[in-house]
């Protein structure tokens, strides 16, 4: 597994964490702040720890080449396309569903931005892993 694949896996790992945030909010809004710290600090460490593995570089090996760049570029195009399409759909939905004053709350806007960022990370990371997956299936000899 090369550096790009590890970064993509870390992206999926981040998405899982980001999906936990609204889940915690849904489950219980009155969590004890001390308990939140006890749970929260190890979670932050778990979130940051993989960065060390990602930045660790072997001096002798090439960690990125033209094929990796092509895969990243394609994944970026796919992610931008899907997220832009998704955002247009969401905004169209809001236009039709909103009341006559055409206003949406700031919390809704924050939610849309959060959704867009999470969706981008999810699609981008998945696209990278899928591209590596189907290209390298029987190549190792």
């Amino acid at each position: 597994m090369n550096r790009t694949q590890k970064a993509a896996l870390y992206g999926l790992y981040l998405v899982a964490f980001m999906l936990l945030i609204p889940l915690v909010d849904l489950v219980d809004t009155k969590i004890n702040p001390i308990l939140l710290r006890v749970i929260g600090y190890p979670l932050v460490i778990l979130l940051v720890l993989p960065i060390w593995f990602l930045t660790k570089k072997k001096k002798t090996e090439v960690d990125m080449d033209e094929r990796d760049k092509a895969i990243i570029k394609k994944a970026c195009i796919i992610a931008v396309g899907i997220v832009t399409g998704g955002l247009l759909t969401v905004y169209t939905f809001f236009i039709f569903m909103s009341s006559s004053d055409n206003k949406i709350t700031t919390s809704t806007l924050q939610g849309v931005v959060f959704f867009a960022f999470t969706a981008f990370l999810l699609v981008f990371s998945s696209a990278i892993l899928i591209q590596y997956g189907w290209r390298d299936k029987d190549g190792a000899k």
């Binding site: 090996e61 090439v62 080449d65 033209e66 590596y132 190549g139 000899k141």
Partner: protein, 73 residues
């Protein structure tokens, strides 16, 4: 419509060159081993500079490594 296919002799040339490993070829060409695997399997068409670097690693002309074939479908 004709189908274009890029064939290569990398595997044969590696074994002809003292059984050169994919990693050794990757180091000489300045790419990752995964890219050599993908090129060897015909799943990735390298850029022209990379194709020249691979040919240079075997000390053979480009045509000895890569062959472009046009197959009528």
């Amino acid at each position: 419509m004709a189908q274009n296919e890029l064939k290569n002799q990398i595997r044969r040339l590696r074994f002809a060159n003292d059984e050169m490993t994919q990693q050794q070829l990757a180091d000489k060409a300045g790419v990752t081993r995964q890219t050599i695997i993908a090129i060897e399997a015909g799943k990735y068409a390298p850029s022209l500079p990379l194709a020249f670097r691979i040919a240079r690693a075997f000390r053979v002309p480009l045509e000895a490594v890569f062959q472009y074939e046009e197959e009528p479908s």
